[in-house]
Symmetry: C2
């Protein structure tokens, strides 16, 4: 009976209407950025970027394609949806100041469940000092769709694009790779177990790090701040959302260069190694193919090596070569293997 | 057989993958705005707004909720999706310079059908001098979802918000109202007839204007240009996407004022009047409740009346009053009726 009463307290979205819903969801968001003049509540938000360049990036997440609510709590989903967009702005060596969030949802969602989603969105806004300045909520025939646009700013000379990698530049990556992908495999496995035996209480304590990497990744604003502090401007940069293989190909293709990446340099966590043994997977394959780590992959001039070598969080994994047809992984057995990737295929 | 061969030439989206699809869809879009430094092709687009304020607005359209492909050609849908977003920027008395477009689509769509959508998007970009600078394409489990973000710019002192209407200001509307809604009713009726008898060739020649208003509406950039030329800054402004009733309530609520709107002043087309007789509808009800006209509703100081009175496309429909509880329609019988609206309820 208690469960029933509890359910009765929930508010069907259909009771609210669009304007009320937006008001309800955005009333706890404050405007804090000096680059925001006016946020939600008119036809458009008003931003002011002084003499800086404006950067804009957008992303769409679809239930059943990009996430599965069976193992993604709505709050984490909201957080991660923001993070993945901020990551695109940070990967230009720019700071992010605003986002807009549009959500389409089927009538199986209640106000309380969508408020969970917005709690996660708010947590990310707070952590990264970003204002929510607009959005749209509407109904969908099936499932949940989230579309986020992130707006950033930077001085022109500081912006790092994909196309600036030069011969002999060092290829560097932040953090470690593959853990987010592995976290997803663990969640999927537990979900299968749960389907067979819903009373099974899984012990996931061995996988805390991997699950956190999947469920609550962070965008590397700290790395951008490290660059600023140490006067580093990466010659090229991209965030790792689709896997190292895919991203290094983007950089090389856009910069018209090749590269050698050294397998033994690719940073992976101890937790990933252990889980790979358990799942009988090759950790290099996971680190190169697995997406959603939101680490930064960038190139720097060799003269900047001294500035990064003391950072335990940045790893040189290779260098840029001249021949754009030659994008290689140098394996631990010192074999040279061409790196290929289809990118991320959602279709 | 011809039909079958034709179908064989179509390209399933699944053959392309995400990067190829984006490339394919955006390769015919050029960067033209002086406010765009770099568009599609990196993690974020780079914009430069000099010393102007930046405006941003976003919108999500869901198949089965906002449009029905049974009577909306994809090309028109693309055009209209852009127009509805530009309209939000124009309604701040600002110009629009860039858009981002994200699309989620189920596997029933082919590349050719989505190219139709982008043809419409491109036509709107061209007409309104707007650059496509980013976006995302992904798969959906069901139907088509389009999310557009529009970016605009204006000098601060020229921006018209919803909250500036003052006592004795004139309430003005561009164009005529209700025709887009009526166009939709006609399309719905023809669709029902078609379901019963697919060989029936409907004669829609009497409804050309109403259908055009529904299928290919235009945002009123020309009105913004008229303001600039005539040195008019509306004290408040909103675009009519959800119907006159809903929009005038927004202006009055945000400005903390009331108004009298005169029924006999509300501009309606002859085509709307004729169709209302046929459908046994009251044209004032349609003009006040029907959305999607994308006309501008604004208030101006009385001293500006001389500047607008010569424009055949702008109609004074009422004036602002002091009492914010008193938002009235003065009927042709000279009765005062409170204006109410639920806004647009998509749930």
């Amino acid at each position: 009976m208690e469960g029933k009463d509890k359910k009765k307290d929930l508010t069907p979205i259909s009771e609210l209407g669009e304007f009320k819903l937006i008001e309800e969801l955005t009333k706890t968001f404050e405007i804090k950025s000096e680059f925001t003049d006016m946020g939600v509540g008119d036809d458009a938000a008003i931003l002011d970027f002084k003499k800086q360049k404006v950067l804009i990036s957008t992303d769409m997440l679809v239930e059943g394609v990009h996430f599965d609510l069976a193992y993604t709590p709505l709050k984490h989903l909201g957080y991660k949806a923001v993070v993945s967009n901020l990551s695109d702005i940070f990967s230009m060596n720019a700071n992010c100041s605003q986002i807009t969030v549009s959500v389409a949802l089927s009538n199986r969602f209640t106000l309380e469940s969508i408020e969970e989603l917005y709690l996660g969105i708010r947590a990310a806004c707070k952590k990264f000092n970003v204002d929510l300045v607009g959005g749209d909520t509407t109904s969908s025939n099936k499932g949940l769709i989230i579309s986020i646009t992130a707006i950033g700013h930077a001085k022109e000379k500081l912006i790092s694009k994909r196309n600036g990698a030069k011969l002999n530049d060092l290829v560097v990556v932040s953090g470690d790779l593959g853990s987010a992908y592995m976290g997803l495999q663990i969640l999927k496995r537990e979900n299968e177990v749960f389907k067979v035996n819903p009373n099974n209480q899984p012990d996931l304590s061995n996988y805390t790090y991997l699950l956190q990497r999947q469920l609550k990744p962070d965008a590397r604003k700290d790395v951008i701040e490290f660059f600023e502090k140490n006067k580093i401007i990466p010659t090229s940069m991209i965030d790792i959302s689709d896997g190292l293989s895919s991203e290094i190909l983007h950089i090389c293709k856009n910069s018209n260069v090749g590269c050698n990446i050294y397998e033994d340099k690719i940073p992976v966590s101890e937790e990933l190694k252990a889980a790979c043994e358990e799942f009988k997977l090759h950790s290099t394959t996971v680190a190169m193919g697995g997406g959603e780590d939101y680490e930064l992959l960038f190139t720097i001039d060799q003269k900047d090596f001294d500035k990064i070598k003391s950072s335990p969080d940045l790893t040189v994994i290779g260098h840029i070569t001249q021949d754009s047809e030659s994008i290689n992984l140098i394996t631990k057995a010192e074999q040279s293997v061409p790196i290929t990737s289809q990118g991320w295929k959602s279709f």
